[in-house]
Amino acid sequence: MLEKLYYQDKGLFLQSFHPATVLLYLLVLLVLSLLYDHPLYLLCLLFLLACLVKGTEGMAVWEGFLKIGLIMMLVLMVVNPLVIRSGATIIWQGPVVPLLGRLDISLEAIYFGLVSGLRLLVILSIFCLYNLMVNPDQALNLFARAAGKSALMVALATRMFPTMVRDLKRIKEVMELRGVDFEQGPLGQRVKKYAGLYNVLLFSSLEGSLEIAESMQARAYGSGRRTVYSRHLLRPRDYMTLGGSLLAMFAAVWGLAQGCGGFNFYPVMDDLIAGRGTLVVLVIVFCYLFVPLMLGGGYKYCRYIKSKI
């Protein structure tokens, strides 16, 4: 199950973009998810992300993310009405609680909790997609140009993460071959076995770190300015996606300035669709954002497009 959490090269179209393109695209999605309050916009973002996750064959992973997201969403929906007093439509008048005053539950507060939760799902999905689309080595290589030691540490640590999961698996295998049964015996003994496993893993990881450091040092690591090796080409698909992202961002900001995409919850909620403008901006922004998926479709079904992008 853990293998699914990190990047795997499946040779898909959506994995063939330049890492910079993907990062910018995802960044635009992230910023939009923070800028938009409008439930409709957030729902569309979630739909877009679902399509992308499907395109990267990551539905199983996404489900895991969704589960966490839904739990957190529920918590928000419960806590929010209890602490927020700004809503006008009271649907339930609660008792007076010391310190807090009267517990009034308003429809707006519940709704706000719901939308906050939706945003949360979108943010989680974006990072899920990141794991599916971007090879961490390459992404971090992009940052390596500016890198201080911290960036390197983050890079190394993200790299070590899958290694560690593999190590754990190997060590467990060896221990089982040497007669340790992790699932047998009373709880005390089982805990002891797992503690043993933990010790080995910690020890070998630390040992590994010294060896990696040694190997890095021996290969001139830190000997002055560093360049970055890149065999990536910026292909038409990258230019199109980059353009799409920028245009989407531009359209979104312009829309927000016109009042499309914002949403007021308190004291009374806005209408879901306030005017034609809301829908028009929505369609424009998402047309741009759908560019990589459209390219993917063309790549799959049309020889001509395939040869051109």
Binding site: E3, Q8, D9, N135, P136, D137, Q138, N141, A144, R159, P162, T163, R166, R170, I171, E173, V174, M175, E176, L177, R178, G179, V180, D181, G196, N199, V200, F203, S204, E207, G208, L210, E211, I212, A213, E214, S215, M216, Q217, A218, R219, A220, Y221, G222, S223, G224, R225, R226, T227, V228, Y229, S230, R231
Partner: protein
């Protein structure tokens, strides 16, 4: 000015009382090709680390004496400048890979040197192509086979083109052909480009003659330093085994000067044969010299009688085994193999052929996609290793996974306890057997690579298992211990236990195994007694086999050679003749 000048270098690892390096005095000139030989734990790797300027910074401990590189003391020298000039390949390929992707790994050092992208592309392309890494260029480093990792580690350093190459057993996991190629490359770099090479090697048959100078180490000291021939003479006089087989054979004839290469040996042998028999070819009878060997069958064809189903004695039976890793690499393609009780089988084959994968199937760690694996007549299906692990000892290619107790002794006791075996006297026996008694209370992580390998071996063999499966147990082990291991395994086989091991060490396979299985790209391509398989092969032939080919066919091991060749040299006049030929 010498390139390196070491004065009275003494080094202790943290918390140790015996010095890993003791009073080393050494000068190395630019452009030399130096071979460092010595027993396991004699301080070879420590010396290499000192030359690369990594001791003591990465290990702590106490250090005394001075090391000069190009006239400046290495400790005070700009570390950056040093790293640009000295390239080091470490002993364990598992522990020196930094990046997740093969290509990124090769480029890592180049990036650190600040080269332009064009330059990097060129160098990466060159070295990838030369080292045969092109098919796995985009692969993940964690998924590579042991030998592929080693090639990658070497490629990453060679791409940087440092003028001083420090290579710590760079070919211990490579198949003979790849090793040959790489050693030739190193030699060429040394001769044509003037690179200084300091190489540590345990398998001397392929590099002894390449070196300008050989250092013999023991107990942290350099006990002999000179040309290959001089050191060989000294080694023979001291009764030590650090010699290529050909040299060892002729050393037994007590000549004052002896051949170092197959060519020299052949020349010598030919003169003898010509004078005595007029050049007629000779053979020894295979089965007679090797009565323990089983009859040979071509197990790769599925109609083989091995699989008739009546054969009850099979300890291991692989039937039409197919396996593909989750990422889609098809590794085993219809492997058939049957091994009887008491057999000693060595599996040879190129890097990435699927040998380790096959062993993992045998141990029940991987489930076959198609076909069956039967061990002791039991089908090793899902989680099957639980049933068989009591009778099966499995050592993987990476011995570090086996070391997790605080002391070497506990490591062995751990296995015994888990299987509820109370007889602990075997621990002493095993420790003595693998020459580990003095490390009884040492943390196994504080040992040299060869020592770790032996601890891991001992820890799986303490249960006296019926089936012994070992993945490259000979890597990093010196001649003496290899002989000890070989004899131990032969005894086990003679006692009715079954031994299957993977090795790239043809000499070892020829010397100790009875049956040899060759794998090539996921298939068994050759299977039979060692004389049949190794005798015919060009690359997979032991040194003595090569030497005797065409002159005295059928000879593989030192013992056979001694038995058949020594009589040729009998007689008082021969001493002069040997001298004459070899000089």
């Amino acid at each position: 000015m010498p390139l390196y000048k070491i004065e009275n270098l003494t080094y202790y690892y943290p918390d140790t009382t015996t010095a890993a390096l003791e009073d080393i005095n050494l000068e190395i000139e630019a452009g030399e090709f130096i071979l460092v030989v010595g027993g396991s734990g004699s301080g070879k790797s420590s010396l290499a680390r000192a030359l690369a300027g990594l001791i003591p910074d990465f290990y702590g401990g106490r250090i005394g004496g001075k090391t000069y590189f190009q006239g400046d003391e290495i400790r005070t020298q700009d570390r950056r400048k040093l790293a640009r000039q000295v390239g080091m390949v470490f002993q364990d390929p598992e522990k020196q890979i930094v990046q997740t992707q093969v290509e990124a790994e090769i480029a890592f050092g180049l990036e650190n040197l600040g080269l332009t992208n064009e330059e990097m592309l060129r160098r990466v392309a060159e070295v990838t192509c030369f080292m045969g890494l092109t098919p796995i260029r985009g692969g993940f480093t964690a998924n590579l086979s042991g030998g592929q990792k080693q090639k990658l580690a070497l490629a990453a350093v060679l791409a940087m083109q440092p003028h001083v190459l420090v290579l710590d057993e760079p070919t211990s996991q490579l198949d003979p052909a790849a090793a040959e190629e790489i050693l030739n490359l190193v030699k060429r770099l040394n001769e044509e480009m003037g690179f200084t090479v300091i190489m540590i090697e345990q398998r001397l048959e392929r590099c002894y003659h390449l070196a300008d100078r050989v250092l013999l180490m023991a107990g942290g000291k350099i006990i002999c330093d000179g040309s290959a021939r001089a050191v060989a003479g000294h080694t023979i006089a001291g009764g030590q085994p650090f010699l290529p087989p050909v040299t060892r054979l002729f050393a037994g004839l007590q000549a004052t000067s002896i051949p170092l290469t197959v060519k020299e040996g052949r020349k010598l042998l030919r003169t003898r044969l010509n004078t005595k028999d007029g050049g007629e070819e000779r053979h020894i009878v295979k089965t007679a010299s090797n009565p323990g060997a089983t009859p040979i069958r071509a197990a790769c064809c599925s109609s083989s009688p091995h699989f008739a189903g009546t054969n009850r004695g099979n300890v291991v039976r692989l039937k039409n085994l197919w396996f593909t890793y989750p990422d889609g690499t098809e590794v085993l393609e219809g492997v058939n193999l049957a091994v009887d009780e008491g057999e000693f089988v060595a599996v040879l084959g190129e890097n990435g052929a699927g040998k380790s994968t096959m062993l993992r199937q045998l141990a029940g760690l991987l489930q076959p996609d198609r076909g069956t694996v039967e061990i002791f007549g039991r089908d090793v299906g899902k989680k099957g290793y639980r049933e068989i692990r009591r009778q099966v000892a499995y050592l993987s290619q990476n011995p570090n996974d086996y070391l997790f107790q605080d002391t070497v002794e506990e490591e062995l006791l751990f296995t015994l306890e888990n299987f509820h075996m109370s007889d602990t006297t075997i621990v002493d026996k095993m420790l003595a057997r693998f020459n580990l008694a003095r490390y009884r209370r040492t943390n196994p992580r504080d040992l040299s690579s060869g020592e770790r390998q032996r601890v891991a071996l001992a820890s799986v063999l303490v249960t006296s298992p019926g089936l012994i499966i070992l993945d490259e147990p000979t890597r990093g082990i010196d001649y003496r211990l290899k002989a000890e291991l070989g004899r131990f395994l032969q005894q086990q086989a003679a006692a009715g236990r079954t031994v299957i091991l993977v090795t790239h060490d043809v000499e070892f396979a020829a010397e100790y195994a009875a049956r040899v299985v060759m794998m090539f790209s996921g298939r068994v391509v050759s299977d039979g007694s060692k004389h049949d398989v190794l005798g015919k092969s060009v690359f997979y032939a032991p040194q003595l086999g090569k030497m005797c080919r065409g002159l005295y066919d059928g000879i593989l091991t030192l013992q056979e050679a001694q038995q058949h060749i020594y009589p040729l040299f009998a007689g008082p006049t021969d001493r002069d003749e040997i001298l004459e030929v070899s000089l």
